[in-house]
Symmetry: C2
DNA sequence: GTCTATAACCAGATAGAC
DNA sequence: GTCTATCTGGTTATAGAC
């Protein structure tokens, strides 16, 4: 057997298609990414793409779904280590920034939709909304846990949307400055100020400029 | 003369084309908006579009340029009324929100580009960058004037980018919630907190928590 | 599952009468 | 400046050998 039997050649092709399609679609958007572009970039003929995914729409849905699960897996869970708010918030923001850097396609795929309002299949529309809803749900839960908010509260919702909009804005900025990353410094200040503004008790996180060396784990 | 002579029928057609093209392109993006769509929507044959603008690219450039000048004209100038920071900031944010509501296409056109990195003409790339640079320059100048910062300072740049990213994130959110508007409440709190965090003296705008006496603004 | 070849169609763009 | 008619090329998608 000089040739690898490759019993899962199909699976590897599937992944290759999704990889290149995700790359191209996140860069050029759905409409501007053609089947032939993907085919040429990944080396497989167009008929293979159709065999695996059925249509261009099917590719988009699959790409989107994989990006969603990957991003949500990379984003920090609700339970962050740290006794006080400052510690948890710092760890949280660092992980969020890292996740968005490691999965740059994630948000850009949501931006490059452009099509979803017109001729998109119901499956594509559903997946896009699912993606966005999942991100919002994650943000609400995570922000609530980090800052100690009641998860269904108005404040939690406001802070979650604030965080997501900043992340989206950063993804947009990346069109122009490819090196742009989520600016966690200002975001940290803003989130703490918003929480304080709404009367959220923040033990040990009131020190922005004052040299407050971290209170120990005891309060 | 029952028929209007319409000596400027060409100019009115030009405007009609730009109107519908801007509408469609801001909704579907550049690539997904076809010449025939524009033609059908505005009633003029495709050859008229080519007579006026030469190419699809030319239409995009013209749409973008008009959107830029309209948005920058609607955005508040650097000189805001109000003696103290709080007054100026409130007036400023109200006008910014209003401008983004009145010109919803403005930012969305920048989002729906998708193409600009691949086959776009140099003119389109230049216009896109010009648009974005103009917005950034406006934000730096306006934020500096409102909060009393030195215009070239690091703080002014950070706050300008923060504001623009929030605006971009809001434009993205509008894909999913068409009624979404710039959330000036949280943005106000965040900007004040960021200014205070950097030691900017804010007379009369300390309504969050502790009164912070300002160090000088650092660069 | 992958390949070659091709069908059916629509895109951007042009020619020339009016 | 506007219209009808048309050309060329790329697009999605499929057929069928292997």
């Amino acid at each position: 057997m000089t040739e690898a039997p490759a019993p899962d050649r199909g699976a590897r092709s599937r992944d290759a298609i999704l990889d290149t399609a995700g790359e191209l679609m996140s860069r050029y958007g759905y409409a501007a990414t053609s089947i032939s572009m993907i085919s040429a970039a990944c080396g497989l003929p167009t008929s293979s793409l159709y065999w695996h995914f059925g249509s261009k729409d099917g590719i988009y849905v699959a790409v989107l779904r994989r990006a969603r699960t990957a991003l949500l897996l990379a984003l920090p869970p609700a339970e962050m280590p740290g006794a006080d708010v400052a510690q948890r918030l710092d760890a949280f923001l660092a992980e969020v920034k890292d996740a968005f850097e490691r999965h740059p396609h994630g948000l850009r795929l949501l931006l490059g939709l452009g099509m979803v309002q017109q001729d998109a299949s119901t499956a594509a529309v559903a997946e896009v909304r699912h993606y966005r809803d999942a991100l919002l749900a994650w943000a609400r839960k995570a922000v609530s846990a980090v800052l100690g908010l009641h998860e269904g509260s108005q404040v939690a919702d406001e802070l979650a949307r604030f965080t997501l909009r900043m992340a989206s804005g950063t993804a947009v900025a990346r069109w122009f400055e490819p090196g742009a990353v989520l600016d966690t410094g200002p975001l940290r200040v803003a989130l703490l100020a918003l929480a304080a503004h709404h009367g959220v008790p923040l033990r040990g996180a009131l020190g922005e400029d004052a040299p407050r060396h971290g209170a120990t784990e005891r309060e």
